[in-house]
């Protein structure tokens, strides 16, 4: 008796290809992290520059206290009021120095908020704040006392 052989398929089996591909997708989805790659730039003075000598009285001093209290030239104000306060001073002197001085216990986020606000001066009040400095505690002790 002749036994009939089952027909042999001449195609490459691709039914499991999608399973493999989806496994790879799941691997990449799980391992992918969306990295934050943007921020505020903060240029430091060149190495050979002598530290700019600024009289404390001539500059606008923005002190930041814990809890987000902003004291600008001894006046407490909201973040959104700082640029309005600065505008007439900048009109008189476009190079008016602005010093940001956060207290040691003030949260870092508030310093960034103030710096961001000053950097937006051009779009908000039409004038650029060119001279922003954030002295460190060591610099304050060296140059202010």
């Amino acid at each position: 008796m002749k036994i009939k052989k089952p027909p042999v398929s001449d195609e490459i089996p691709t039914s499991s290809m999608a399973d493999i591909a989806f496994l790879l997708i799941i691997y990449f989805m799980v391992t992918t992290t969306f990295a934050a790659t943007r921020g505020l730039d903060f240029s430091l003075p060149p190495e050979d520059d002598t530290p700019p000598m600024v009289e404390k009285e001539e500059a606008v001093l923005i002190e930041i206290q814990s809890g987000g209290v902003f004291v600008v030239d001894q006046q407490t104000m909201q973040l959104s009021e700082i640029l309005d306060y600065l505008k007439p001073k900048l009109e008189r002197n476009p190079k008016k120095p602005v010093i940001i001085r956060p207290q040691p216990d003030a949260q870092y986020g508030y310093m960034v908020n103030v710096f961001d606000e000053l950097r937006q001066a051009e779009s908000k009040i039409g004038m650029k704040v060119d001279n922003i400095s954030i002295p460190t505690q060591r610099e304050i002790e060296m140059f202010w006392f």
């Binding site: 992290t33 505020l40 908020n113």
Partner: protein
């Protein structure tokens, strides 16, 4: 007259293109994946101005409780005890590449004294530019988008 038998309807779902779609998605993920040198979990401050940070920048991260980690941008970040070690790390990085940008990745709730120590170390190491890593500020209905007053 003998009628021709109707063609048999295929009841299966066509899955031949499934693999193509899946491989397209794989290629997308492979292209967009980026390996972070610093995986420190922090809550970043929000800003409106956000500039693209150059690739291969050196990282200094500070967590909410003041723990510092550093990375030269080529390898995974390592913890350091304090700002003095940041100074020696940054001095080495600047010596190798004087124009190397530094990225400060600090938690927005960290007391400023920790950030002050790190910034001072970077200044002393003659770093030229520091990027303050931030998230996009969400603009509220008032339009100014600030969070003043705490």
């Amino acid at each position: 007259m003998r009628l021709k038998a109707r063609s048999v309807q295929n009841t299966g779902i066509p899955t031949a293109s499934m693999a193509d779609i899946a491989f397209l998605l794989i290629i997308f993920f492979m292209v967009t994946i980026s390996f972070e040198v610093d995986k420190t979990s922090v809550t970043l401050p929000e800003t409106n101005i956000r500039l693209e940070i150059p690739k291969q920048a050196a990282y200094v991260s500070i967590t909410e409780n003041g723990q510092i980690r550093v990375s030269s941008g080529e390898e995974i970040s390592v913890p350091v005890p304090g700002p003095d070690e940041v100074l020696s790390f940054a001095a080495g990085v600047v010596q190798a590449d004087p124009t190397k940008p530094f990225v400060l990745k600090a938690d927005k709730e960290v007391p400023y004294q920790y950030v002050d120590g790190v910034v001072d170390s970077l200044k002393q190491a003659k770093a030229q530019v520091i990027y303050l890593l931030s998230m996009q500020d969400t603009v509220d209905d008032g339009g100014d988008g600030d969070e003043s007053g705490g």
